[in-house]
Each structure stands twice: as structure tokens, then as C-alpha cells.
């Protein structure tokens, strides 16, 4: 009796528009399917990044399916991705994360691109105690909230900036001044301030240090100011569209600094395509580059080269760090499930915390705050048509060239 009343009300709720069909009969996932939920920005400002995540996971999943699933505790387990478009809208992202957890009963969440939206989803995952992998969030502010279910495959920004300052100082002993110009947005801003700190502690003189607002259409004013400061090194952070414009304006206004670094510009194909010849000589740091060469890695790709080969065959273009980090996050997850012997959320969470593995993307070992630590991050440079790796020594394939 009570049940029918409840059901009746449920039906009423549906009619009145509160409940979706799927809400009434939640899809209960079978034990032998590992369900990964991913809210993605497939439209809106971050559509390109969302697309990358979608692409690489498809590639990864095809690979897993070809092997008939993953081996857990002696049995085959299938893997499934459930993806939704959150339209680059933070409110929507949180909502969809909740939908994934409660409606689609996902076992684990993958965060979308960017530190900001990762934060929103991390809060939901934490509340439900669902393990979450952040593959494209590197700002420490994401990880310093004491969340226990959040793990990130990118390394902290500071590691990147310190090694960069050291490397450039070694390459160019007369390097004295740096101008820093960053977008006022979570990741670009944190990179800019990390570099400012690293440069100062490295003994460089920061001659210009400004942020620009989201939605800035033109950089003439800043570029003019940078020009009169005449720095040895220009360091700019932002989205690809900002960096293309910034690089062009630096050249147009006759800024002649021998080192120009744009983060994460050259890591993206769109950057070099949008700039043409002007891209030549621009340096950047990135979390991963396809010329790295790890071997004996876990996961479907045992070497970096095999990942590169598969990816280029499928998408006719080079993968960047977003692709690699996201695929690696999936590898980490699988290895944690295997270690845990089940997809039990608590067990997987503990296994993730204990992770210390090598993937095609590099070693992954989560620190106390859940962030991948201790990776040597490559410094890259556009040289002609190619992206060359300058650092670290183990994978370098070119020397730093000054821009003339």
C-alpha cells in the first residue's frame, strides 16, 4: 500500500517535470562493468579541450575492449564511459557530476579540463566519497582543501617554473630581466605568479608583472609597456587565442627579447597553426611531450611511442599533454582497481593513494594532497615546423635557440 502510494507520487513527480525517466529507474551497473563518469565541456569556451578528452578516452577504451576488458582478480571486467556535455557552465558541471554519481552509478569520476571546474566537481565527488581523477588541473589550490578522494595526474606548477628559471639561466648566463604577463584565470594566473616567485628567488629582475582580464581583446598597451621595459625574457600565460594574439603583437610592436615563453601555447597544435612562422622560437613548459620515451609502462600502451603511433593513426595529429594525461589517468584507475581487486569505492580510493606506477605518460605517485609529484617536466621549443624538447637531459633532442 505504502509502496503504491510512493510510486504514485513518483509518477506524479515525473509528470510535473521534476523527475527524468532515468531518475525513476536508476540504471544499476553490473558488478563486472567499471563505469567511469566524465562531465565534459563539449560546447562553450572549453569545447576544444573537452573534445580532446573525449577523443583520447575513446582511443583508450577501444584498446581495452580489444583486449576483452581488464583483468581484475582473475576475472574480466568491462569498462564503460558515461559522458555529458556541461557546456562550459560550472553550475551545470556540478549538476552533471551528481547525475553521474546517483543516476548512472559511476564508480569513479574523471574531471573536466581546467582547475576551476575540477574544483566544483571535486566538491561533489568528495561529498559522495567517489574517487575522482583530475587529469587537467595543476593549480595547488585545487588540492589544498584536504579532499580525500581527489587525485591529479599533473604535477604542481611550481616544479615547472623553478626548473625553467634554472634551465634558462644555465643556457643564457646574462639573463637578467623577465616580463610576466598572465591571464586572470585559475591556471594561467597561478603559472604567472609561480614564475614570478621562481624568478625572484632565482635572482632575476621581474621588470613587468601584470594580469589581463578574461575577455581582453587586445594586448597593445601591455606589449608597449613590455617593450619599454626591454626584458631578456617574456613569459606569457593564457588560452591559445590570447597567446596567438600576444605573440603576434610582440612581434608587431618590435619586442626583441631573445626568449619568449608562452604557457601552454606550443603544447597545442592550434598555437603553431594560428601563428605560422611567428611561432618559431617560442618556448614553453608542459607536463608531457610525445618525444618522451618511457618503456615498460602499465596499461594498454607499454611505451610512449606506441601511444603516439596509435594516436596519430587515429586522429592524424600529434597528441598533447591533455591527451596523454587523461589517458594516463585512465591507466592509473585501472591499476588501482586491479590492486584493490574490486571496484569498491573505498578500496579503489585507498589503492589510488598508494599508487606508484609508470605509465607511458611518466611515473605517477600521488602525494598527500593527491597531486602527482616529482616529475621532471619537459621544456619545449618550436623550431621550424617541429616541437623540440630542450629539457630534461634524458629526453632532449635539441638545444635552446634564441629568437633573433
Amino acid at each position: 500500500m505504502n509502496m503504491t502510494l510512493k510510486n504514485g507520487l513518483k509518477v506524479a513527480g515525473l509528470t510535473f517535470g521534476l523527475a527524468m525517466a532515468s531518475a525513476v529507474t536508476p540504471a544499476v551497473a553490473a558488478d563486472d562493468v567499471l563505469v567511469i563518469g566524465a562531465p565534459l565541456a563539449l560546447t562553450g569556451g572549453l569545447a576544444d579541450e573537452g573534445k580532446k578528452q573525449q577523443d583520447v578516452w575513446k582511443l583508450w577504451l577501444d584498446k581495452i575492449n580489444a583486449a576483452g576488458g581488464i583483468d581484475v582478480d582473475g576475472k574480466k571486467m568491462q569498462v564503460k564511459f558515461v559522458e555529458y556535455d556541461y557546456q562550459t557552465d560550472g553550475k551545470r558541471a556540478g549538476q552533471l557530476a551528481e547525475k553521474l554519481i546517483t543516476d548512472d552509478n559511476v564508480d569513479v569520476l574523471m574531471a573536466p579540463f581546467g582547475s576551476g571546474h575540477t574544483k566544483i566537481i571535486a566538491a561533489v565527488a568528495e561529498r559522495y566519497q567517489v574517487p575522482m581523477l583530475a587529469c587537467v588541473a595543476s593549480s595547488t589550490s585545487v588540492y589544498d582543501q584536504g579532499f580525500k578522494y581527489l587525485f591529479g595526474t599533473l604535477a604542481p606548477n611550481t616544479g615547472m617554473t623553478e626548473s625553467m628559471v634554472e634551465f634558462f639561466k644555465a643556457q643564457k648566463p646574462d639573463l637578467k630581466t623577465v616580463a610576466i604577463y598572465g591571464r586572470d584565470d585559475v591556471f594561467p594566473k597561478s603559472m604567472a605568479s609561480a614564475l614570478a616567485a621562481s624568478a625572484e628567488s632565482g635572482g632575476l629582475d621581474v621588470v613587468y608583472n601584470e594580469l589581463y582580464a578574461v575577455g581582453t581583446m587586445d594586448h597593445s598597451a601591455a606589449v608597449s609597456a613590455i617593450k619599454s621595459a626591454n626584458p631578456d625574457w617574456v613569459y606569457m600565460t593564457g588560452y591559445t587565442q590570447d597567446l596567438i594574439l600576444g605573440r603576434k603583437q610582440l612581434s608587431d610592436m618590435g619586442v626583441t627579447s631573445p626568449i619568449i615563453t608562452m604557457v601552454t601555447g606550443p603544447a597545442y597544435r592550434e598555437f603553431t597553426e594560428g601563428l605560422g612562422e611567428l611561432a618559431d622560437g617560442v618556448t614553453s613548459s608542459t607536463w608531457w611531450h610525445h618525444s618522451t620515451a618511457y618503456t615498460d609502462a602499465v596499461g594498454p600502451w607499454s611505451t610512449t611511442a606506441s601511444f603516439y603511433a596509435d594516436f596519430t593513426a587515429a586522429y592524424k595529429s600529434d597528441p598533447d599533454y591533455v591527451h596523454a594525461s587523461c589517458a594516463a589517468a585512465a591507466d592509473v584507475l585501472v591499476s588501482a582497481v586491479q590492486a584493490a581487486g574490486s571496484k569498491d569505492k573505498q578500496a579503489v580510493r585507498d589503492a589510488l593513494a598508494a599508487t606508484d606506477i609508470l605509465t607511458f605518460y611518466g611515473p605517477i605517485d600521488f602525494g598527500d594532497n593527491g597531486m602527482n609529484q616529482g616529475r621532471e617536466m619537459p621544456i619545449i621549443q618550436v623550431q621550424g615546423d617541429a616541437i623540440k624538447v630542450l629539457y630534461p637531459e634524458s629526453i632532449k633532442n635539441a638545444d635552446l635557440k634564441m629568437i633573433d
Binding site: 513527480g13 566538491a123 586572470d184 594580469l211 582580464a213
Partner: protein, 324 residues
């Protein structure tokens, strides 16, 4: 009679939303929270856009300031409820001061000015890094408790605000204030001439359109745990709320609530089923709304429509009967 129907419908609706934690899963509760939150903003917008006829597009500014004021207060150790109240009051004061300035504008100028307010508040929030964290956004202390409890709490607070906003709108509708606002919407000069202090009335309406948005903004911030300038001061939100009200019927009591419910339902359906095209489909709905439902769902003459349709149907069936 008609009013009883109106209150009855509202009470039923609130009861249904309030029942979701008992009946449905957390995603449904989340939608219920969304529905309540947007309903509050729609009811609020109705004060200025519906009753007074001023095309205000500053909802997102009020919501965003509510988010930030609540978050900042909480981060500085103000207890939860006090932080929410602080945000509400701050937004009210802000709206009153702002209203005194921009309500001198009319029509297109007012529309543009009110959109500019959203952009301006976003830019200021973004560059005032020392207070707001700038582009980094702010982490807000998470509400304690398991997901069900938190969702339930947020839902009931949002619903409480909705009831308050609705009761206010009923009161305004019946009072001198509402009468004066309707005079202003039809002929502002004439309203002035019969003794309506149009400036003061408009400021009150504008403030009413802000205060509840500030409250839900603050609650929203506590709920999601992280806010940033782009999401808090969203142009999309500021445009969506008036569309919801228009969909239901501007200037009516139930219209904003009906419109919000229908809009969010449609949004859910399209989001789930048309991954790449949902934005275009929503755009299509707006275009449809403007052409075919210019007065909203509430003002359709349903009985006439029913009569017309059934007449057509009966003609159709008698024809086919004749043919056989």
C-alpha cells in the same frame, strides 16, 4: 476562486518539490534545487520586468554578489546563516543604490545598462583579487553532512526563499505598491501625474528583484563549495531568467514559477538527448516562444483552444465517417 486556484497550485508545487528527498534520488533533488533557485530568480525578476515593465538584465549581478558576499563572510568566520543574511542585505543595499542611478534610463538604454552591470561586477570581482581571489575563484567551506542531508538542507532553504518571494509577490500584487508598479509599466508619465512617486516605486521594485537573488546566490555558493567570476556573473543566466518568466507569463503570479519548471524540464530533456545541439534547440524554443506564445503559457485561452481543437477533431472524424 481564481486566487484560491493560484495558491493551491503553488502549494501543490512546493509540496511536490519538498517531497523529492523522500521519493527520488539525489540527481532529482539537485534538479529540484535548480528549479527552486531559478524560480526564486524568476519571481524576483517579475517585480521589475513583469509588474513594472522594465527590461532588467541584472539578475546575474545580484546572484553573483550574493555568491561572493556569502562566501567571503563565511571564509571570515561568519556563521552560515548569518553569512547568508549578510549577503542578502548587502545585495539589497547594492540594488537600491544602483537602482537610484540606472532607473533613470528607459527602454533600450536601461536594458543595455543593466547588462553592463553584470559585466562590470564580473570584471571588478575578477580584478579585486585580494578580496575575491580574482580569477582563481573562492573555495567556500563545504556544508557538513552526507550528500542526502546536504541536498535536503539546501533544497529546503531554497524552497523557503521561494515561498518568501512568492508571498511577497502576492502581497505586492494586491497592494498600492503593485498598483503603482502596474501604472508605471503602462504609462510612466501618467503614473507620475496621478501622484505615484515613480522613482521610489521603481527602486523598491528593483530592490525586490535583487534581494532574493542575493539570498539564493549565497546559499548556492555554500552548496557548490567553489565559485568563480565567470560562473557567478554569467550573461547566460541573466538572459535565461527573463526567458523563463516570459515563457510562463510576465506580470502574473504563477507565470514565473510555471515558466521556470517548463524551461528546466525542456533543458533536461534536450541536454540528455542532444549532446551537440542542445544550445540550438533552446534557441529554437526561445524563437518559438516569441512567435507563438508571446504572452506566456498562463495567458493561453486553454478552454477556447480545447474547443477549437475538439471541433476540428470532430469535423475530421465526421468527414472520415462520411467517407467510409
Amino acid at each position: 476562486m481564481k486566487q484560491l486556484l493560484c495558491f493551491g497550485a503553488f502549494a501543490l508545487w512546493v509540496a511536490m518539490i519538498a517531497a523529492t528527498p523522500l521519493l527520488a534520488d539525489n540527481y532529482t533533488i539537485r534538479i529540484a534545487i535548480s528549479v527552486s533557485m531559478f524560480s526564486v530568480m524568476a519571481v524576483s525578476w517579475n517585480f521589475i520586468g513583469g509588474f513594472t515593465g522594465y527590461p532588467s538584465f541584472s539578475t546575474a549581478a545580484f546572484f553573483g554578489i550574493g555568491c561572493y558576499a556569502g562566501a567571503i563572510a563565511q571564509r571570515n568566520g561568519v556563521p552560515l546563516v548569518l553569512a547568508w543574511m549578510f549577503a542578502t542585505i548587502l545585495v539589497a543595499v547594492f540594488a537600491a543604490l544602483l537602482g537610484a542611478i540606472i532607473l533613470r534610463l528607459k527602454g533600450h538604454y536601461f536594458a543595455i545598462g543593466s547588462i553592463a552591470i553584470v559585466e562590470l561586477t564580473r570584471l571588478i570581482t575578477s580584478s579585486w583579487g585580494s578580496l575575491t581571489g580574482g580569477g582563481d575563484g573562492l573555495n567556500v567551506p563545504l556544508l557538513q553532512g552526507n550528500p542526502q542531508e546536504v541536498a535536503g538542507l539546501v533544497l529546503y532553504v531554497m524552497l523557503g526563499i521561494l515561498v518568501l518571494a512568492f508571498v511577497t509577490s502576492v502581497y505586492v500584487d494586491r497592494s498600492r505598491l503593485g498598483f503603482g508598479l502596474k501604472c508605471i509599466s503602462q504609462n510612466e508619465d501618467a503614473a507620475n501625474m496621478v501622484g505615484v512617486n515613480t522613482t521610489a516605486f521603481k527602486i523598491v521594485a528593483y530592490t525586490l528583484s535583487a534581494v532574493f537573488c542575493g539570498a539564493v546566490g549565497a546559499v548556492y555558493a555554500s552548496w557548490v563549495g567553489y565559485i568563480d567570476p565567470t560562473d557567478s556573473f554569467s550573461i547566460l543566466l541573466t538572459l535565461k531568467v527573463p526567458v523563463m518568466v516570459l515563457l510562463g507569463g510576465a506580470g502574473t503570479l504563477l507565470g514565473p514559477i510555471l515558466g521556470t519548471g517548463v524551461f528546466i524540464l525542456l533543458e533536461e530533456i534536450f541536454w540528455a538527448n542532444f549532446l551537440e545541439w542542445n544550445r540550438a534547440i533552446l534557441g529554437g524554443i526561445i524563437v518559438f516562444l516569441i512567435f507563438f506564445l508571446p504572452n506566456g503559457l498562463l495567458k493561453i485561452q486553454y478552454l477556447q483552444l480545447y474547443a477549437a481543437v475538439s471541433r476540428k477533431l470532430s469535423i475530421g472524424s465526421s468527414k472520415s465517417g462520411a467517407g467510409s
